[in-house]
Symmetry: C2
C-alpha cells in the first residue's frame, strides 16, 4: 500500500512537471523495477498523445546539436519536450556523448524540457527493450513530443529509431553519402533525411546522392492507381549550430504526422512499438520465473530423477515448465 501511494505520488509529481520525479520513473524502467507494473497501470489511460520522433545518424553529423536546435524550435511553438539519448553500444555514457550533452545544457533550466541519457546498465536486452517503455512514461506524464536520439549506427540503433512515430536520419556532407547510409541500414528507416552542416563543401552533392538513392525505391513503373499514397522521404538541409533550416524540418515533421495519421502508418508503428514492449515485459518476467525455479529445490529433485534414470532430461524439463506455468502472475 505504501508503495502504491508512492507510485501515485511520483506519477502526479511527474505530471506536474517535476524533473526529478520524471527522472525517477525513467530509472525504474532502466532498472526493470517491479513497481513498473503499477506505474504502467497509472499511466496507461494517459498515453498515446505524444508525438515520438526518432533521430539517428552516424557519429559526427551533429545529432546532439540538431536535437538541441529542434528542442528550441519546439519550445517556441509551445510544446513540452522529453528527450531520451540512447547509446546501446555502451554500458555507460561515453566521453564523446558527454561532450555533446553540454550543448543540451542550454535547456537545463527549462521546466518544459526533460533530457535523459539511457544506458544498458548491463541489463539483458538492454536499451532496445527499455526504450519503448521509457517513451511510454514520457508520453504518459504529459510531454507533447518525445525525441529519441540514438548514438552510433549499429543494428540496435536503427531498430530503436525505427520504433518512433517518425524517424529523422541525419547525415553530413561527405561522410554520410547515400551508399554508406544504405550499408548502415538507415536508408530504409528514414522518413526524413537531413543533411546537417549544409554550409560546408559537398552538401549539395550529398543531397543529390541521397535523393538519387531514395528515388530507386520509387520507380515510376511500379505506381498504380490502386497503390495507397506512399510517403516519399524528403531531403532537407540544416545548419544546426545557427538554427538554419530547423523550422522547415519541424514543418516537414508536421506534414509527416498528418500523412501518417491519415494513412494508418502512425497506428501501424505504434502497434509495432507496443509489440516490442509487451515482448520485453514478458521475456523479463519469464527470465525471473526461470531464475526462481533454478534457484529452488525443484530443479535438484528433477536432476536426481535424471541421474537415477527415473526420468530423462526432456521429461524433467517438461515438469520444470509445468511448475513455471502454474504461476499465474509475472513477477514484474
Amino acid at each position: 500500500v505504501t508503495q502504491s501511494v508512492h507510485v501515485a505520488d511520483l506519477v502526479r509529481q511527474a505530471r506536474e512537471g517535476r524533473a526529478r520525479a520524471v527522472a525517477r520513473l525513467v530509472s525504474l524502467v532502466e532498472d526493470a523495477s517491479p513497481v513498473l507494473r503499477e506505474v504502467s497501470a497509472e499511466l496507461a489511460p494517459l498515453t498515446g498523445r505524444a508525438h515520438v520522433i526518432g533521430i539517428t545518424g552516424p557519429p559526427g553529423v551533429g545529432k546532439s546539436t540538431t536535437t538541441s536546435a529542434v528542442i528550441a524550435a519546439l519550445r517556441r511553438r509551445g510544446s513540452r519536450v522529453g528527450v531520451l539519448a540512447v547509446d546501446p553500444s555502451s554500458p555507460f555514457t561515453g566521453g564523446a556523448l558527454l561532450g555533446d550533452r553540454i550543448r543540451m545544457q542550454d535547456h537545463a533550466l527549462d521546466a518544459g524540457v526533460f533530457i535523459r541519457s539511457m544506458a544498458t546498465r548491463g541489463r539483458l536486452g538492454g536499451v532496445a527493450w527499455a526504450t519503448p517503455q521509457a517513451v511510454r512514461v514520457l508520453d504518459g506524464v504529459g510531454f507533447d513530443v518525445v525525441l529519441v536520439e540514438t548514438v552510433g549506427v549499429g543494428q540496435s540503433e536503427v531498430e530503436i529509431a525505427g520504433l518512433a512515430d517518425v524517424t529523422v536520419v541525419l547525415l553530413a556532407p561527405g561522410m554520410g553519402d547515400g551508399v554508406q547510409a544504405a550499408k548502415a541500414g538507415i536508408l530504409e528507416i528514414g522518413d526524413l533525411f537531413v543533411v546537417n552542416k549544409a554550409d560546408r563543401e559537398g552538401a549539395q552533392a550529398t543531397v543529390r546522392d541521397l535523393r538519387h538513392m531514395i528515388s530507386l525505391g520509387f520507380p515510376r513503373e511500379a505506381r498504380t492507381p490502386e497503390e495507397p499514397a506512399r510517403w516519399r522521404p524528403p531531403v532537407l538541409t540544416t545548419v544546426a549550430l545557427t538554427g538554419e533550416g530547423v523550422d522547415e524540418l519541424l514543418d516537414t515533421l508536421d506534414r509527416h504526422e498528418q500523412w501518417a495519421e491519415g494513412s494508418g502508418e502512425l497506428r501501424r508503428r505504434r502497434l509495432r512499438r507496443a509489440e516490442r514492449e509487451i515482448e520485453a515485459i514478458a521475456m523479463t518476467a519469464l527470465r525471473e520465473r526461470m531464475g526462481d525455479l533454478t534457484d529452488g529445490p525443484r530443479l535438484g529433485e528433477l536432476a536426481a530423477a535424471v541421474v537415477d534414470r527415473r526420468l530423462d532430461p526432456y521429461g524433467a524439463a517438461d515438469k520444470m515448465l509445468d511448475a513455471l506455468t502454474s504461476q499465474s502472475t509475472p513477477s514484474a
Copy 2:
C-alpha cells in the same frame, strides 16, 4: 512414426559403434533438433556408465597432444573413448585447433574412438548448453570414457570442464604458473593438475608453485576429525609427446573415481550436470514457444489493445504468458 523408427535405428547403429551414427546424434544436439526428445528417451536407461573427464588449460600447454596420449593409454586398457573438443569462444573450429586436431588423427581409424569438435553454430547458449547433452549421448551409446577438452581459458571453458566427473587442468612450465591459473579461475575446478612438457626448463618450479597454491586451500588448522575426507589435488608431470607420465595420470584418475564414488562427490557432480541439462532444454523450449507467440496473431491483438488503451503493456504481457503456459508440451 517414420522418424521414431529412424531414431531407434540411429541409436542402435551408434551403439554398435558406427561412427557416422554417433556423429549424427551429436549433430542433433548441436542443432537442438526436435527429435532429440526421442533420442533422449531411447538413451536414458543406458546412461550413467561412462566416466566423464574434463581437460582444460590455457592455449599452448599441449591439450590436444595430452588428450591424444590419454586416448592411447585408455585404449590399451580396453576402454572405448568418446572425445568432445569444445571451443566456446568461436563459432567455428579455428585454425590453431585444426592444427592440433591432426595429432588426434592417430585415432581416426580406431572404431573404439570417436572424436568430435563442437562449435556454437550461433545457437543461443552455445556449447555450454549443448555439451552436457552431447556427453549424455556418448555415455548412452556405450563409450566407457568421455573426454571433454575445452579450448581457451574463459568463464565458459571453466564452466564446461567443471561439469565433468573429474577435471584435469593442464599447464606448462613458465606460462602456466599458479598465480595465473588462480586468476583464470582454473585452480578451483582442478581435481588433478598436470604440468606437461615436463622435460622443459622450469617444470619443477611450476610444480612447486602449484603445490604451494593448492596447499593454501588445505590449512592444517582447519582439519577436524568430523570433516569428511577431502580430495587434495595432486600435481603430476607429463611429456605428452613421448607418453611419459600418462599411465600415472590414468592411475590417479582411477584413484579419484574411487574417492568420488565413495564420498558422494561423483553423484553431486552428476546432479549438477543434469541440472544444467534440464535448464538448457527448458530454456530452449521456452524460447521456441515465445517465438511462436511473437510470430503469431496473438501479439498483434494485444498490441492493439495497448495502443487503444484498453490494456496496459503489463496486462498484455500477462495474457501473452497465459497463452504461453497453456501449451503443455515443450516443442523440443
